[in-house]
């Protein structure tokens, strides 16, 4: 076991890590590359979990580009995927911005346009947090999390 500490979390070494410029075309490319990697790693086993991982990745990446890097194409975002000792995993989406607190985000009123992406990530994952020091959004899951087709967080 090759455990290391990332923030307060013990994780295995990343089995996938890559970086992209903060452009519109990077959204699709980075999602496709990450989905390929986590599918071959065995995290995605059903079309439901593929849908949920794709959705969480897109929401996190769009947040990193628009809010973290403020759409600056010279800004870079990085995605890393690690196994965790509890048979789950964690995906880090890191930007170069000042971040936000996903815990403070609640569902907006029906007429409000934003904020739903974080709520969706919080539903599918076991834990979603932004680390201000590393500028990374952390999406952690266990085998029971909805993203794996497990229990319900609603």
């Amino acid at each position: 076991m090759n455990l290391k500490t990332r923030g307060k979390l013990s994780v295995n070494a990343a089995f996938f890590k890559a970086a992209w410029p903060s452009t519109k075309t990077s959204v699709r490319e980075s999602i496709a590359a990450t989905l390929r990697a986590i599918e071959s790693h065995g995290w995605i086993t059903t079309k439901e979990s593929r849908f949920a991982f794709r959705l969480c990745l897109e929401e996190a990446i769009v947040n990193a580009i628009e809010h973290g890097n403020r759409c600056n194409p010279e800004g870079v975002f990085e995605i890393a995927a690690h196994d965790t000792p509890d048979a789950g995993g964690v995906i880090f989406v890191c930007d170069q911005g000042c971040g936000f607190d996903p815990g403070a985000v609640t569902l907006p009123a029906d007429t409000c346009a934003g904020g739903r992406g974080v709520c969706l990530m919080k539903y599918y994952m076991d834990h979603v947090a932004y680390n201000c020091d590393s500028h990374c959004l952390e999406m952690r899951f266990t085998p029971q999390s909805p993203v794996m087709g497990g229990g319900c967080n609603a």
Partner: protein, 142 residues
């Protein structure tokens, strides 16, 4: 590779309701949502009072960017005495609407075919007409 095609919406009037069949090879996401929204908003602006039922049967994936545009379209319909409903969602997309509490706003029912949703929409419009009729009658009596 994930490929996003240009989304199309084919509009067809059926009685008082207009069906907007959304056609996209796969997904509606951040990369093509603005094309989808432009087409939708232009049609709604050109048809004030429209009662629109958007058919999502051919859509396999959408993100929260699409939800925001649907809310904008809903507001545009309502501001002109119209309404917007959605039908034909896959179980995964239906769940997204449930998680964000938008299933009730768009009057979506699980596993309902668009034909049934259209009939339910027609009935709701008739009930609304009846209620308006009664309100005008009782208003005159008082």
């Amino acid at each position: 590779m994930l490929e996003a095609g240009r989304p199309e919406i084919r509009f067809e009037k059926q009685g008082r309701i207009t069906i907007g069949a959304v056609h996209t090879p796969d997904m509606l996401d951040d990369s093509n949502v603005s094309q989808f929204a432009d087409r939708l908003m232009k049609y709604i602006s050109a048809n004030p009072g429209i009662h629109l039922l958007l058919d999502f049967e051919s859509v396999e994936y959408l993100s929260s960017a699409v939800l925001s545009e649907l809310l904008r379209a809903n507001g545009a319909c309502r501001n002109n005495s119209g309404s917007l409903r959605i039908c034909g969602l896959s179980p995964q997309i239906y769940q997204v609407f449930q998680i964000t509490s938008l299933d009730k706003l768009f009057a979506i029912q699980a596993n309902e075919k668009c034909e049934a949703a259209r009939n339910r929409f027609e009935r709701a419009l008739r009930v609304a007409d009846d209620e308006q009729g009664w309100a005008s009658v009782t208003g005159k009596i008082e």
